[in-house]
Symmetry: C2
Subunit: 274 residues, 2 copies
DNA sequence: CGGTTCCTTGAGAGAACTCAACGTCGGTGG
DNA sequence: CCACCGACGTTGAGTTCTCTCAAGGAACCG
């Protein structure tokens, strides 16, 4: 399987160096010792393509026999109840792990589909399990990811107003997209890897890859409410919304609003303790 | 600190056999190979007492340097935002791990207090980390616990009616308390360890250790709403509520209500194919 | 260009909240 | 022993936030 140094074309299962991956900075293997990283790489089925929005990675209830890491794009996880109501559980950006909620479960508790054209890397449960027995660094990183996701889920599960939730969501997306690059689809991978940390700069631009409907569903709001809240924010001069691209003018005001949610602080100073 | 002979004296830090622990059936070490269990036991500070309701185990923002397993009683975790609003994040029953959401975090994201007199076992983060490097069974159990908690948090975070949430909560409590025994406080430990699986039997009795206020807060409802929903359930003949003790007469009806929440099924049968 | 799908705005409805009052229980102290 | 107090639980009435229903406009795709 050929592989171009720069980045190039995509074939599932390619053996690649994680070092060159556009998502490396956010990936759970970032910071692992070289030996663990190389073992990880060789257990990996890399560059699995989800060529277009709506492509399914796996369905709810399917046997849960792999875990995925987003390489590019955006994947949403969701459930559907007996009445056919969809419920968005989360959005996964480059570097994020998908399937952390399926450990010890026979089946995926939620399905996963691409929000925009995306790429993921795949590790089977079996391989992951054996990796975990003798790669303590990897194990710890995985654990921290799961723990972080749990913190997020618990924080978001609170009872907040539409405005609080929206503000928290926007800031959270901003934080997550900033270090890697604006969330581009896999088609734009070329640009991703060479874009330096964008978004963290002066004016905060977010390109939201998902629809209002998905945002609303994720935040437990009606689509219309999301629109109205965005309009209200815009009237206050806090942001400028152009289709899916948002420009945050007054992040401070948003922070203040989102504070009770507790997921996005201006600068979370976590000085370590014993 | 007086304590009954059956299960010997309680002094924090006692070296004890996990086999005799009343919570053993639900504990994360249940099913581990003997060698891992014994290493776990010796890393453990067992029987840490929280003598009365309201006693704090740790506070929000405190350096997160240990993980706990509930031995008896009930512990609630909670956060307090800047406006002083309390937010209950979860109730932890015997066998449950507290602190899974603090991995990779310097500080506890939530505080923990006893709901009724309780006992916990303590393992320091450092010890746990070294245990995890060479006890793959333990590691896996921990991972599965974190994953399960994540699934629960995601399921509960949905947008449901007061009745759906209440039904899901009651059934979930019933399921969790049944195998171990009705949630008794540490003072009743005597009875716990020798009571065979209660509650699973014909008529389902639950003793809810926490106040209506805590339940409401946990479910993102007003205290009054919880009362009203319980009253409605009672009017329908689905349960009989006597103070903190509930008798579920029509679990089927409750199951039907709680179905969309997706956390408590009569018997989860998701046979699905790839 | 039609035909979707998505986004946006308006008007009315409903579920849950807030405010308020009252009953109950358990502990405390006179 | 009983009166008192505070916390908890329950019930009622009015308010509010968000949802639902409805419709028009914009963007995307074949």
């Amino acid at each position: 399987m050929p592989f171009d140094a720069q980045l190039s074309p995509v074939a599932a299962g390619i053996r690649t160096s994680c070092q060159l991956c556009p998502a490396h900075g956010n990936c759970l293997v970032n910071g692992l010792p070289a030996n663990e990283l190389s073992r990880w790489s060789s257990a990996l089925l890399a560059h699995v393509p989800l060529t277009q929005a709506g492509k399914s990675l796996f369905a709810t209830g399917e046997p849960a026999n792999a875990v995925f890491v987003v390489r590019a794009g955006c994947i949403k996880t969701y459930t559907v109840d007996e009445d056919g109501n969809e419920r968005v559980r989360g959005f996964h950006l480059p570097g994020d792990v998908i399937g952390l909620d399926s450990f010890g479960a026979a089946h995926y508790p939620a399905g996963a589909v691409a929000v925009v054209p995306s790429q993921v890397c795949r590790v089977s449960k079996g391989q992951l399990q054996s990796l975990m027995t003798d790669n303590s660094g990897l194990t710890q990183h995985l654990f921290e990811r799961a723990s972080r996701e749990l913190r997020l889920a618990l924080a978001l599960s609170g009872d907040y107003t539409a405005e609080q939730r929206m503000a928290a969501f926007l800031l959270h997306m901003l934080e997550r997209m900033a270090p890697a690059a604006p969330c581009a689809s896999a088609g734009d991978v070329r640009s991703i890897s060479f874009t330096p940390a964008a978004g963290r700069s002066a004016d905060s631009l977010i390109k939201l890859p998902m629809t209002r409907r998905d945002i609303a569903n994720y935040l437990r709001l009606a689509t219309e409410t999301v629109c109205r809240v965005l309009t209200r924010f815009e009237e206050k001069g806090w942001l400028k919304s152009t289709d899916k691209t948002l420009r945050l003018n007054a992040p401070v005001a948003l922070w203040a609003l989102a504070e009770p949610v507790g997921i996005s602080q201006p600068r979370l100073s976590l000085s370590r303790a014993a």
